[in-house]
Symmetry: C2
Subunit: 598 residues, 2 copies
């Protein structure tokens, strides 16, 4: 099915929920005037619908081909990357002085989301390039920034992140790749990296690898990891390409989904490079501080993967809704002269509403977080900056974990809506189900996100930040009191907020003496937090819609959003209560079976 960017919905979330008007009022905000926002969204949609969306199935059925260390990308991918970068989209959030557009994260967010929807496997190439740019902006020298960033923004070079090794996945302390210092100040790297997304391909002239490795005298564990920039082709002083570096793609993985994205095994220092044995690299930042730098970048990457979840859910929803309107099957349960479109059947309706509500809620949560990211950088008031930064950091594991878990659920429902046709690959629903499954895994599994949420984001301040968030949520409850039409929604949200608070209280109380029991509830807590934040944002959306409708504004968007918010609170928020019970009564029984009894 053809993909259409949901421009009206994106504009609503930006303008009415995520604070675009307030951001616009800050210094530098004139560049995101309402007409500019509309123009960017429209132009982005045009490119993605025409040039990128058709690649989705094409790439799935024609994945990249490895031959003798070279990788031929899926048909059309090289050209699409050129179109994408030449139109300026790769540089959207990056500094003007390096060739970017310097726009806020909030403006880049819908563009990234829609790119992911158009073709998830393609979008990983710009996403990883973004990550490499972020790393160099964070920790690279001015020379490194000047050398590597402009070609990446131009799309002639792409970037990668090299963290994982066979024995070191979630646990990077086990990384073994080594970097040997050279007399000229450079380093030579030796080792094997796996799961390197777009680690090798023919879509760009050069590939900029950012690699975690150990210096000879480095301590064990994560405090002995340093970061290196290792280009596929060495770069001459004038920026032209030099010798082929000693980094080679040994194979590509055969994956469940995102098949068009080449997942490479990379060998560093195989000895076949034109500049001698060992992959030549430069240190980025301080020695042994590699993981700290990666962690800074990782917040951006985790947020970006959260957006992928929303994007995939949106596309799966869109496809299922279009199918359900067209497919005629069975009479109506209340009686009908003949068979009806299946969208008329109550359970199909329930599934579509679930897909839609989860997608819209997780989008609102993510965009509000993106807005906080920008306020943390642009707001003139230091206290406001700090508060927004803390909120953003709290939200990142929720955006990553919740949006990707719901993406799997939504994609699965999408298959179910299609019935038997959903199981046939030609239909396309199955691809979303396959593609979605990586999202709760890469860039830190949901459990890794939940550890971060419990440990760094909730316990470190004894639950104070969450307490402040809960108080703001209760402010929304107070606003809802004035509107009798929203009484049921208000009661449902109030219950979910109580559930959230009770769980945070439980975590803070018990983490000291029952750390394993508390962590057994960490993913349920993350999911509960996602549900409640989603309910909060949907309630805020309902208030906005009621105001517009009350003013007599005629726009089908508002009643639809209102209905979706009401469905979300009635159907999906009750899950928060179940999660609360599971967490409060479940820790011990989750852990009582000995490992050998499984």
């Amino acid at each position: 099915m053809a993909y259409k960017v949901p421009v009206r919905e994106l504009r609503f979330v930006l303008e009415e929920l995520a604070g675009m008007p307030a951001l616009r009022a800050l210094p530098g905000g004139e560049e995101i005037g309402p007409e500019v926002v509309e123009a960017i969204l429209a132009e982005n949609a045009r490119l993605l619908e025409q040039a990128v969306a058709p690649l989705n199935r094409e790439g799935d059925t024609h994945p990249p081909v490895w031959r003798d260390g070279r990788v031929q990308a899926s048909p059309g991918f090289r050209q699409a990357l050129r179109l994408f970068a030449e139109a300026g989209w790769q540089g959207l959030p990056h500094p003007v002085e390096l060739g970017g557009q310097g726009l806020p994260k909030l403006m880049a967010t819908p563009c990234m989301e829609s790119l992911n929807s158009a073709c998830l496997a393609f979008s990983l190439c710009p996403l990883l390039t973004d990550g490499a740019i972020e790393v160099l902006l964070t920790a690279g020298s001015a020379e490194q920034q000047q050398r590597f960033i402009p070609p990446m923004i131009a799309g002639t070079w792409t970037g990668t992140m090299n963290l994982t090794e066979p024995q070191a996945g979630s646990d990077l302390s086990l990384v073994r790749t080594r970097a040997e210092p050279q007399p000229d100040g450079s380093y030579r790297l030796f080792g094997q990296k796996i799961f390197i997304t777009y680690g090798e391909h023919d879509m760009a002239e050069n590939i900029v690898h950012l690699v975690l490795a150990r210096l000879p005298d480095a301590p064990e564990g994560i405090k002995g990891l340093s970061l290196f920039v290792v280009p596929k082709f060495l770069v001459n002083e004038d920026g032209t390409l030099g010798a082929r570096n000693d980094v080679w793609c040994a194979s590509l993985e055969h994956k469940l989904g995102i098949k068009a994205s080449p997942t490479a095994v990379l060998i560093y220092g195989d000895g076949k490079g034109e500049a001698g044995p060992g992959a030549v690299g430069q240190l980025v930042g301080q020695p042994n501080r590699g993981l700290e730098i990666m962690f800074i970048m990782m917040n951006a990457a985790r947020f970006a993967v959260g957006l992928q979840g929303i994007a995939l859910a949106e596309r799966a929803y869109r496809q299922a809704a279009d199918f359900a309107r067209e497919r005629i099957q069975s009479r109506a349960v209340e009686g009908s002269p003949g068979p009806v479109a299946i969208i008329h059947h109550p359970d199909v309706r329930r599934m579509l509403m679930t897909m839609r509500a989860l997608t819209e809620a997780s989008r609102a949560v993510a965009y509000v977080a993106a807005g906080a990211h920008d306020f943390a950088r642009r707001h003139p008031d230091a206290d406001m900056r700090a508060r927004n930064q803390a909120f953003y950091e709290y939200m990142v594991p929720i955006v990553k974990g919740f949006s990707t878990e719901i993406a799997v659920e939504v994609a699965s429902l999408g298959v179910q809506v299609h019935g038997g046709m959903g199981f046939i690959e030609e239909t396309g629903a199955a691809q979303h189900y396959r593609d979605a499954r990586i999202l709760p895994i890469y860039e830190g599994t949901t459990a890794i996100q939940a550890n971060d949420l419990v440990g760094r984001k909730t316990l470190r301040d004894g639950g104070a930040l969450v307490g402040a968030i809960v108080a703001r949520m209760r402010g929304t409850l107070a606003e809802l009191e004035a509107d009798a039409e929203l009484a049921a929604l208000r009661a449902q949200l109030a219950q979910a907020i109580d559930d959230y608070e009770a769980v945070v209280h439980f975590i803070v109380q018990h983490a000291g003496r029952q750390v394993r029991e508390v962590f057994a509830g960490s993913v349920p807590y993350l999911m509960l937090a996602g549900l409640v934040h989603g309910g909060w944002q949907m309630a805020r959306a309902a208030l906005v819609c009621r105001t517009h409708i009350g003013k007599g504004i005629v726009d089908d968007f508002y009643p639809a959003k209102l209905a979706t918010a009401q469905f979300y609170c009635a159907h999906l928020l009750p899950r928060a209560h179940a999660l609360r019970l599971e967490i409060l009564q479940g820790g011990a029984s989750a852990l009582s079976l000995p490992a050998e009894a499984f």
Copy 2:
């Protein structure tokens, strides 16, 4: 990973939960003595582990090949079918006088489950053959039974069900295939059938198609469908094979999973048959009563697909647990000298317990239903027969719907436990995730099961049967009262039973005037019923284990089962409460958005 049949668990469920001892005490029960049951389970496990389980990945990577209407099955499948049938497994539940073993359904159930676990795609061939045998036993003439059943039990012929057409999936009233009466009393069929599992292959000498079609004067809709038996090769009077019939495989589907199972498009009456144009068939049963016959068979088929869900969940669980014990990654959350096996991490433990508890609970529910099926046939008391039959019929949509929905969840968790390795096809976890996705769709989607559960099984007697079941559940609550160790489990189960009762009450009260709202809650009701029945059976298992442990019996199985039951009630039963809230407060909001607003 090698597959091991969980023989100890199967024996526990048969003997301690599903009523095997009581069945044994009935007339004819001497053939299922304890040693016989053990021997059957052991022999079944031996065959499946050695001859069938290795086909699972082999078939996935080498799916059947279509060429010019012929289909070559996956490597090893033909030989495995021969071994399977020659050892008597195809005939296990079928009449002795037709070559079967005449064993009760309860005895056949663990054998079928394990066959499904060993290789789901392979198991569909015996499963469909079973269905064809059931249809002929139900409605075929003595001559049809004698002609077609013995070779199917012997495994030299296989069977298929031909219902679906492109415009007629869930809605069989739209079937168009036509049957033209011939002067000799036979019929000639013309039409196209799709999604025909094992519709064409080279594993057997003949294929017995059971086909829904319309006679020339048949009324519109489902009351104009007749059933025909149409063999691929016509059968001579002496049982030898005659002319190639006019039924042809036009293509195979390219599917998300169960790839080794050929899903055929069949053309009837293409004109290329050796016996002239039109596929020659015989009427089975009365004209225009085809769907009624199919419905009788469908209960068996739906139960069988429910078993597939349990089987797939079991295999996905087993694989994930084995991986989690071997994979070393990250230190323990409570601190550890070095990285530990990931099974030590609380969230991995939570995921494995969820997989295990859902699998065991749905197994217990299904086996108890199978026992009821047998009591409904073998019990000397007519009232007991009737009560067991009603219970079995109520449980069939739950076994089908719940077990297959949890299979998708369990398989998805299985991928998650594997982390990045789970997304790589070689690991095998991804195949389970792909294979599982068909289960809530074929043999009636979960919504179709839920319609049946609400309409025929709950509303028809005004909730009386469910009321009687709830009373039996409360009997278990009374038994639990005596054991303080089970107080928490008892309270959790009591709450879930209340939730179940409240929902049934709501459905009965509102179905008259708010039929669409009630049906919007039909799938949540089915899932709630599955959860509560699972909790009931796990509570019964806990009582049994406590008794054995109290007697000083040393067997690691009992404490493990007890821990799993406690986890189930603490972690999974709370979902029942969320479903209750969703159903009671959710109907209207699920339906309020107009179809064109999606």
